[in-house]
Amino acid sequence: MAAADSPSAALRRRDLCSRGIRLAGKMRSDVVDLLDTYVERQGLDASASVAAVEGVPVAAAERWDEQTGTQRLLENLAAYRAFRALLAQMLEEQREQLGEADAALGRALAAVLLQVSAFTYHLEELLRLESRGPPSEEGAGPPPLPHLGLFERKLRGLGVLRELAQWAVRSARDLRQLAKPGPGSGSAPSLAESP
């Protein structure tokens, strides 16, 4: 926390939070647009319900307001690292499936992938400012994906994008929470505070 005490570190943190929030907003906006494109190009129904996909982190948190900043950052980082892997796989599958025929979808997927990657960088930087440092990706990576059929892959992709859109919203709120000045924003809540 020592680093967070310095003015430059605080400034840096605020800047990272601010830009992270906006990046999350843009990411959500782009993912929403991508969802429309994806549903259209993949021939899916926009109202199709997708069951929980294995390996896809869930944005919903039961006690979200009780999380510490670091917890938030760690959960976000884990989620986005998972999204990064999932999106990269989707991009590869999309290229294998459609080739260069649907470049727009591929570019949109690549753009979202880049944003996820950028947000991951933001989270890692924030964790560094928390004097914690980002955890290694070795164990945080998603589990190896099972072999799925084409339609299942499409549905999984739809589920990934939808969950990413949810995470974008949550991440923005998390970062706003982190950006708020005040004690304990970065520290873990005491057990007493826990429900």
Binding site: R19, L23, G25, S29, A111, Q115, S117, T120, H122
Partner: protein, 919 residues
């Protein structure tokens, strides 16, 4: 023999080597090579090349390094740059690679004469890349989701080498593929960038001589975005006539960036944009209401945007969209003015009311009609007259008086405030002063000095003054607090405008003050045509007409007259422009002059046609001064000649008309033989010495005694009388004046105290007819002849020789015979009066004698030729007689003597002593 074949073989081998170098490129082993092989060298650096000969060649051809010749293209490199390292290696060194060229060849002199090429290399000279500078990037939004980033930089100097530039960028945790420029070396576009993460950007330049990198640029691409401008603009008129609401769509997501806006607008007919205050549009929005607009006006709107915090670039201006505000009631009444025509009737005016259509920003809508109200000020009780018209003028016939005219403009929304014009009976108020004009910025400015009283407003009238068209009046209103304005109209250059300024007061108006002005002056379009009105010896009066207004093109400041002789210098005279006549003086007489005239404005002058005239040879009166004296002199000479001839008439007669005695009239009885004995005069002077008339003998003969003489005796006296009459008639015939004057003098003389002797019976006679005897012998030599036969020539000559008296007789006879005219003359009343008067002078014989003399002398005196041959006494009498002649001119007529009363005969006698005796 072997040696000879060896040399031949060596030569063939060498030739094959050379051929193999150029053709096969190494199929056959060459005799040597150069190190380095095709180097790339930095410009300006030094360079050393080595030519290494193969050992095999040494054995065949005795070729050694000291025989090597280096060449650049076909130019031999100086041997100072060579260095023989050993027997097979030669080096060449260049201190500056700029002197290098391709190819650099290593050659050898075979057999000391034949130059053979061993090897050659290509040398490339260039520069290492400079560090790229001024790297800058911008993100152009091309669609809602596409944000390509274009970076530009300064690539630095030309390297002369193939230099590759790469735009590199990366996130801290991730590298991206390089952006490689296409066809250019100073910019590259990254197709898509992600925002909100710092991107490190730099440029790498590399060629064969090195590599250089620019300073890195670290930025978040969101900070360098030039967004797409808002689109789908729409403009809606609101409830208020001064408000328009514009709406638009943004093409960049609010999640990407929040925007601020600039809104500009203009009236569609105007080119200048107005802008909504930026602070009013500094927040994200998609609509805005623009206020403070003019009613019923079409506006054009445009909008642009940029990142809310001002970091980045403004978008381009959006497409333009127009909208019209709603109508409002006219903001003011129309300007009104009038023309009063009082020429129709003395008791009434024809008033032409005229007003100007309101400007669009004043009308605030479509003017439907004008309401004109005319109220007579003198009779406030009478109701005002109202007129509704659609045009902008109204002509009324009004009785003389003062009226108040109001005009109200109506549109769909409402009515304007009334415009009031007072039409006074007379313009009796104070006028403006010092009206002046000034062309400025292509317009004509009119200024004036305001009168002391408060002026409600001013009316400026103006019209174009032209010969070809009437003065069509234009006008404009100006508020009362200004003292100058620009004329609002199509003011043309080179045209004369008559501008009049009227001050309008609350209770009347002042008289107009006028001034003429030009927006721009030019030279006159033609010059005046000059001609002469009068030409004298040394002066000429020139006259011309003024140029017409259309020809002047400006204010005529002066006329300049240029005149010159054929070979003389031109003289210029400047004349006041108000004049149309000028007198050139000091001209040379009898000389051809060419004159032209130039009219000048402020911008220059133009000359009229040349006009020539010739001055006169003589001045006014010179001819008269010459001719009159000449004529007078001629007359004088003629007169003198006449006088001379008159004086010498006897002599002339003698020579021209010699006296031929008439033998039939000869009479010996008239002779007086005593006279020659008694007087022996040789000349007239001797006979009649002047001043000796005192011894004139007077013979008084009683009329009754006449009868006592026989007719025979009296005959000589008749003859003598005739001679005398002839003599007198002759005298009278020549000198008419003596005929007219002498008898009267005689009469007058006889009237004064001589009445006792002035009787019909008393005849006083004297032979004082000097003229008749001057050049002839005296009468005393007359001899009377009874013979009726003509004289023989001998006798006549003898008589001539005997004495001058014959000549007198002859002369008398001659007159008698040849001169019917003389007789006629003698019968004239003049002569008759002389004969009548002669007896009346019997009482004053002396006076009569003097009179006879003075008749001649007076003529001489009258001509100024003082022939003073008379005595002083005679002069006195002459004076007296002259006076009496003038005093009593009617004396003769009062007592004329009838012919019957004339003495019937005379006794011829001489006045000379013993010269003539009665017989």
């Amino acid at each position: 023999m072997f040696s000879g074949w060896n040399w031949v073989a060596h030569g063939l081998y060498l030739l094959l080597n050379i051929c193999s170098l150029e053709v096969s490129g190494g199929l056959v082993q060459s005799c040597g090579h150069i190190i380095p092989e095709s180097p790339v060298l930095a410009l300006g650096s030094n360079f050393t090349a080595l030519c290494i000969l193969n050992e095999s060649c040494l054995d065949f051809g005795n070729i050694y390094a000291n025989q090597i010749i280096w060449k650049i293209k076909n130019r031999v490199v100086p041997k100072e740059q060579y260095r023989e390292i050993n027997r097979t290696v030669s080096s060449v060194t260049f201190n500056d690679t700029s002197s290098l060229a391709t190819p650099l060849t290593c050659n050898i002199l075979a057999d000391g004469q034949i130059e053979q090429n061993i090897y050659g290399i290509t040398v490339t000279v260039g520069l290492p890349p400079e560090k790229p500078k001024n790297l800058s990037c911008i993100v152009h939004q091309v669609s809602k989701l596409t944000y390509p980033m274009t970076c530009t930089w300064n690539p630095g100097r030309h390297t002369f080498l193939d230099t590759h530039f790469r735009l590199k960028y990366r996130w801290p945790q991730e590298n991206f593929p390089d952006c490689i420029p296409k066809d250019v070396n100073n910019s590259c576009t990254i197709t898509d960038v992600q925002f909100f993460v710092n991107l490190e950007i730099w440029v790498e330049a590399a060629n064969a001589l090195g590599k250089a990198e620019s300073d890195p640029l670290v930025l978040d691409p969101i900070e360098i975005v030039k967004p797409l401008s808002p689109h789908n603009l729409s403009v809606n008129s609101g409830i208020l006539p001064t408000v328009l609401k514009i709406s638009w769509e943004n093409r960049i997501s609010a999640a990407v960036m929040k925007l601020k806006f600039n809104i500009r607008y203009r009236i569609i007919s105007d080119t200048n944009w107005m802008q909504v205050p930026p602070e009013d549009t500094a927040s994200p929005r998609t609509s805005f209401s623009v206020q403070g607009l003019r009613p019923y006006t079409e506006y054009v709107f445009s909008i642009r945007c940029m990142k809310e915090d001002g970091v980045g670039y403004w978008s381009d201006w959006s497409e333009e969209k127009t909208g019209v505000t709603t109508e409002d009631k006219p903001s003011k009444g129309p300007p009104i003015w009038r023309i009063i025509d009082a020429s129709c009737s003395p008791a009434s005016w024809t008033v032409h009311l005229m007003w100007k259509a309101l400007e669009p920003f004043e009308a605030n809508g479509v003017i439907l009609q004008y309401e004109v109200t005319v109220r007579a000020k003198s009779s406030l009780s009478s109701p005002p007259e109202k007129y509704n018209v659609n045009t902008t003028n109204l002509t009324l016939k009004l009785p003389n008086g003062t009226y108040e005219v109001t005009v109200i403009a109506h549109n769909r929304v409402g009515a304007s405030s009334p415009s009031v014009l007072l039409i006074p009976a007379s313009n009796s108020k104070a006028p403006v002063k010092n009206v002046r004009t000034l062309p400025k910025d292509g317009k004509l400015w009119v200024g004036w000095t305001a009168p002391n009283s408060y002026v409600l407003k001013y009316v400026i009238e103006w019209c174009l003054v032209s010969n070809s068209s009437d003065c069509i009046m234009e006008w404009q209103n100006e508020p009362g607090n200004v003292q100058g304005t620009y004329l609002k109209g199509d003011i043309k250059p080179f045209k004369c405008y008559l501008i009049t300024v009227y001050p309008l007061y609350a209770d009347g108006q002042g008289s107009g003050q006028s001034v003429k002005a030009y927006l721009q002056q030019d030279r006159p379009s033609k010059g005046p045509t000059v001609q002469t009105k009068k030409v004298g010896k040394a002066e000429a009066v020139l006259t011309w007409n003024h140029l017409t207004v259309d020809e002047q093109n400006g204010f005529i400041r002066s006329y300049t007259i240029f005149y010159k002789t054929v070979d003389g210098n031109e003289t210029a005279v400047t004349v006041d422009p108000s004049k149309t006549e000028y007198t050139l003086s000091s001209l040379t007489s009898d000389t051809l002059y060419t004159v032209r005239m130039m009219a000048s404005t402020d911008e220059g002058g133009r000359s009229g046609p040349d006009f020539t005239f010739t001055t006169q040879k003589f001045g006014k009166g010179e001819i008269e001064a010459i001719v009159v004296p000449v004529c007078l002199a001629f007359l004088l000479i003629v007169l003198l000649g006449v006088l001379f001839c008159f004086n010498k008439r006897d002599l002339i007669k003698k020579h021209i008309w010699p006296v031929v005695p008439d033998p039939s009239k000869s009479n010996i009885a008239q002779w007086s033989p005593q006279v020659p004995a008694k007087h022996n005069f040789s000349s007239k002077e001797q006979m009649y010495p002047e001043g000796s008339f005192t011894d004139v003998s007077v013979v008084e003969i009683e009329a009754d005694d006449k009868k006592s003489f026989s007719e025979q005796d009296l005959k000589p006296f008749d003859l003598l009388k005739k001679e005398k009459s002839t003599s007198e008639g002759h005298s009278s015939g020549i000198g008419g004046s003596s005929c007219m004057s002498s008898p009267r003098q005689s009469v007058s003389d006889s009237d004064e105290g001589e009445t006792t002797q002035n009787t019909s019976s008393t005849v006083q006679y004297s032979t004082v007819v000097l003229n008749g005897y001057r050049d002839q012998t005296p009468v005393q030599v007359f001899s009377r002849s009874e013979s009726t036969q003509p004289l023989l020539d001998s006798e006549e000559r003898s008589e001539d020789r005997a004495g001058g008296g014959d000549s007198a007789t002859q002369r008398q006879q001659y007159f008698k015979q040849s001169g019917d005219q003389d007789e006629t003359n003698a019968d004239r009343p003049c002569f008759e009066r002389a004969k009548q008067i002669i007896p009346a002078n019997e009482g004053d014989l002396v006076g009569f004698a003097q009179l006879q003399i003075s008749d001649q002398s007076s003529q001489l005196l009258g001509l100024g030729l003082e022939k003073n041959t008379q005595e002083a006494a005679l002069s006195d009498i002459l004076q007296a007689n002259t006076e009496e002649q003038t005093v009593r001119p009617e004396t003769v007529e009062g007592s004329p003597l009838s012919v019957d009363e004339m003495p019937k005969s005379y006794l011829p006698q001489t006045v000379r002593q013993g010269g003539y005796m009665p017989q």
